[in-house]
Symmetry: C2
Subunit: 193 residues, 2 copies
């Protein structure tokens, strides 16, 4: 239906737009406070023209040391990276970077809720997968395979359907991830609610 | 002593440097994962010279919608803003902005641990104060006073002494803030440890 392609979030929007509009919706609904981090830039030269705003005239992209998104949801620290592939059977590890894996490990050690949102754009399917899945495949890639099979992602992650408001209700999947994390960490910092 | 002025964090370093090096230390010690957010920039024009890195040639500062720092500490979402004044008796509210106050309120509603780090640079004293103190004074400033008295900050906040490693051990104060928050929210999401 033509209506679908206009209304439903996933289609036509980039993954980043889909997540950003979902985050806007979550904030307006007081459901969560999650932002994409700005791109880190090293500023070298700024002009201050009279009667108009400052213009950056020379600046360079710096290497990020974290993931793209973080925030707070019902007392939980959320941290995630969003990536997409046109592959149909597996998600390539080359879409991720060492600093993202390191950051996930650091945040997991602090009991953060860490995950990836993976989009298979040819299939129009989205998955929230625990960061531990990426970490496991990442650490074995020199001996093993260079991508995570879709089959494993289906088994280990949580599928999210694109919708209207929010465009991608990934917190529904995060609820399941949190429930599973709490089962494993009974008696830890976060009690069951 | 001359040695103090070289070694001790607070002196000679800007407040931002003091906090950033403390965050580096906390990360290396696996104590917490806290970063300063990059300045949000709108990039208009980028040159891609041959055989060298991309250069941003036109960009503009965008308004921030959050605070400067956030991260995760023992399962808690931390969110804070760092500000300094040369005043000796009170901290001016004009150092803060509406979007920071709004962001604190949103994060508090999600059970985040929200605070300010205030530096009285003439006194070389630092305080971690709960965001609720800023919110209270902020909301009354049209009828009331335009600054928070040092006396009130001493009573309501937690003083932190500048040191060596970390340059400013503000997590010690945050521990006290968390303990007090948990006392108020018994039975909520975070149990006592
Ligand atoms: Mg990304
Ligand atoms: Mg600031």
């Amino acid at each position: 239906h033509h209506r679908d392609s206009v209304i439903f979030g996933g289609r036509g929007m980039s993954l980043e737009e889909t997540i950003n509009t979902s985050n806007d919706y979550y904030r307006i609904q007081n459901k969560a406070v999650i932002y994409k981090k700005p791109t880190p830039i090293q500023i070298v030269k700024v002009d201050y023209p009279q009667r108009s705003q400052a213009v950056i005239r020379e600046a360079y992209f710096r290497n990020a040391s974290t993931t793209d998104y973080n925030g707070v949801y019902q007392g939980y620290y959320l941290d995630f990276e969003a990536k997409e592939t046109t592959n149909k059977a597996s998600f390539p590890l080359k879409n991720f970077h060492q600093h993202q894996v390191d950051h996930f490990q650091n945040c997991l050690a602090q009991q953060g809720i860490c995950f990836t949102i993976m989009r298979f754009s040819s299939l129009e399917r989205y998955f929230v997968t625990p960061a531990s899945l990426l970490i496991n495949y990442w650490s074995q890639q020199s001996q093993g395979r260079k991508s995570i099979p879709l089959k494993t992602i289906i088994e280990t992650g949580y599928e999210v359907k694109a919708g209207f408001r929010p465009a991608l209700d990934y917190l529904e999947a995060v609820d399941q991830l949190i429930a599973k994390t709490n089962l494993k960490n009974l008696g830890e910092n976060h009690g069951s609610k």
